[in-house]
Amino acid sequence: MWRALSRDGVAGLVCLAVSLWLLLLTRGLPPAIMVPIGPAFYPRLVLSFMALLSVILIGLDLAAARRRAATAVAAPPAAETRPNYPLVLATFIVFGLYVAALPALGFRIATFLFVGALQVTLDRPRSWQRWLLVVSVAAAVTVICQLTFEDYLSVLLPRGRWSGL
């Protein structure tokens, strides 16, 4: 039965699991003291609502799965371009590394490396002119952000533990 679930069903399952887990966490909350309803009342209300909607979503998806199975033979799926998920994953990883590197390297170094790395990830340069552009953009973004935010707008940017910059 579970194999028949589409992305709606999976989303419903994830939301149901999260809502039930958080509902369990509300058990340790203290009772009401000054007002008729305590700190656990509202979270339980919205989490129960979320769990109920998740169950409805799963139910609807299972009902739809039967109809999908019936029509699958009659109408073969149309060929469509598969999204470039490896590139999406790579973008996530590069961005995650950037966020992780910020406290250690500081804004200037981490941003220069991130802007350069993500440009290369998204569109690999095939000539030295393109490499030059990648480096120039990375340097320009870093310098402009530094000047605009720290020096002009007095908005502090992360300092690096290792680099001191």
Binding site: P36, A40, M50, L102, F149, L157
Partner: protein, 513 residues
């Protein structure tokens, strides 16, 4: 001082360089961001947000209003010239704008759109100036029961009307509410659902959540297409001549007063409805224009009526959204949600008391909006050729820049890496929601209103524990009834649409409601 005297004084204030520079910069950023396909106005306002942290509240708001007004009109440039709407709020402009360009009139297509946006925005401004104060006075009569019911109504309406599934819309709103219960409770400050993590003890900060949700949700669909037949850049239509008689274009619009006023009304009304925004306003106004037209068969062939309807409603929608945030503290869309976040950073809470407590900022918003309209025309007029080149920026350059600005925006809120980690978490959640086709708008509204729904509920129950008061007090009961009706209406609408599609194509109707 009277209402209009105050307005004139604040127009004078905003014309000072101190406020005019951010307004002009915001308008330029808005026009470019609006024109760039794949970069929405929300994304642009998020990018501009960190620049506003070092400014005073009105300077920051002026920049954001510039983005909002400029972006609403900027989207029409690419919609008309290359047939790709720069923002979802310019989708309907492509229907007639692009055919007009293909018919050899690119200048007329662009300028009919720009002037329709200007006039629609100006008419919308009248509603903004005239309706905000009376609506705020009305809201002052509300007790906690009415506010609770109003916020529930806003959330249920958005959940029902946005996206293709009412269940997913409501689920998205519920996720938004759940996000707000993490951290201290509003009465005693008891820590809830923090799982022992120190950085959750203050709850999820609103702006990093919002920035994270939109950043990856809007950028990753473009990344998905790189190397899969999708283009990473847009070809600039270099050979196009945009020169046209502006007087003639203005007359083309003014000679259709009913169309202009009706489309503006549609825009304002959609703007007032929470979180629906310009993407619905332009389509609805276009549809209405076609229904009322004596020559509906000509729509889609490059006639000015289609562009006027779409663009005037699109910019009037901005005024509608501003009315809602200033009178009730409910954001009309994601852009006003960011503005609301920016105001709260400065300790200003939008809502019924906003105009009386912060008249300088309130009238400054009116003034900035009115000045942003001619500025938008001027910016497009001066830089029309330059903007065409800017929109050719490759995605591989644009995406890292946007992400760096998102990180700065999150970090600068409290000079804390915790906010950046929250941003990263919600980047993943936002993208997952896009892939699960769960709409983001109800979640955003849930996050914005969650705390207020809870505190008003507690205030109501604390002053009188009878829960039936939510239903028996006339306004509160009416709003709860309207909430139920809006969900039922959405269910009926989705079912009818599913059946219509099934009859038309012989396909299986959408089983989800």
């Amino acid at each position: 001082m009277s209402h209009y005297e105050l307005l004139l004084v604040h127009i004078g204030t905003v014309l000072h360089l101190q406020y005019l520079v951010p307004l002009v910069a915001g308008t330029i950023a808005g026009v470019i961001g609006g024109a760039l396909p794949g970069v929405t106005i929300t994304m642009t306002v998020i990018m501009v947000l960190p620049f506003t942290f070092g400014l005073d509240p009105l300077q920051g708001l002026a920049a954001m209003i510039g983005v909002y007004v400029g972006g609403s009109a900027g989207g029409s440039i690419t919609a008309s010239l290359i047939g790709i709407p720069g923002t979802p709020s310019a989708v309907a402009t492509t229907f007639d704008g692009f055919p007009m360009t293909r018919n050899g009139e690119p200048g007329r297509a662009v300028w009919v759109g720009v002037f329709a946006a200007f006039l629609g925005g100006a008419l919308g401004g009248i509603f903004l100036i005239e309706l905000t104060t009376p609506l705020a006075s009305l809201a002052l009569k509300f007790g906690p029961w009415e506010f609770f019911s109003l916020f529930v109504f806003a959330l249920s309406m958005v959940a029902g009307l946005v996206g293709k599934s009412v269940t997913k819309g409501l689920l998205s709103g519920a996720i938004g509410l759940v996000i707000t219960v993490v951290g201290p409770d509003p009465i005693l400050g008891t820590q809830r659902l923090t799982m022992g993590l120190n950085f959750l003890e203050g709850g999820f900060p609103f702006l990093p959540v919002l920035i994270g949700l939109f950043a990856f949700a809007q950028l990753m669909p473009d990344v998905e297409q790189i190397g899969r037949g999708g283009t990473t850049d847009i070809r600039a239509p270099k050979a196009m001549k945009l020169k046209v008689s502006l007087r003639q274009v203005l007359w083309e619009i003014l000679s259709r007063p009913f169309l202009l006023v009706w489309s503006t009304l549609v825009g304002v009304l959609i703007g007032v409805l929470p979180a629906i925004g310009g993407s619905a306003a332009n389509i609805m106004a276009y549809d209405q224009a076609k229904k009322f037209s004596r020559r509906p068969e000509k729509f889609g062939t490059g006639i000015p009526e289609g562009i006027i309807a779409s663009e005037s409603s699109n910019n009037a929608n901005v005024a509608g959204s501003l009315i809602m945030i200033m009178a009730f503290g409910i954001p009309g869309d994601a852009v006003t949600a960011v503005m609301m976040g920016a105001l709260t950073i400065h300790g200003i809470q939008p809502g019924p008391l906003f105009i009386s407590q912060h008249p300088k900022i309130a009238y400054g918003i009116f003034a900035s909006y009115l000045i942003a309209l001619p500025l938008m025309v001027l910016v497009i007029w001066i830089g029309s050729r330059a903007w065409l080149h800017v929109i050719t920026m490759p995605k591989s350059i644009m995406i890292p820049i946007v992400l760096v600005l998102c990180v700065i925006g999150a970090y600068a809120l409290g000079n804390s890496m915790n906010d950046v980690y929250v941003l990263l978490l919600f980047c993943a959640i936002g993208y997952a929601m896009v892939k699960a086709r769960i709409p983001l708008a109800p979640l955003i509204l849930g996050v914005v209103l969650g705390d207020q729904i809870e505190s008003n509920m507690i205030r109501a129950v604390a002053s009188d524990p009878d829960p039936w008061l939510f239903l028996t007090r006339p306004i509160s009961g009416g709003l709860i009834a309207a909430s139920v009706l809006s969900v039922l209406f959405a269910l009926w609408q989705h079912r009818r649409e599913g059946q219509r599609l099934a009859e038309a194509d012989g396909d299986e109707p959408d089983t989800d409601f």
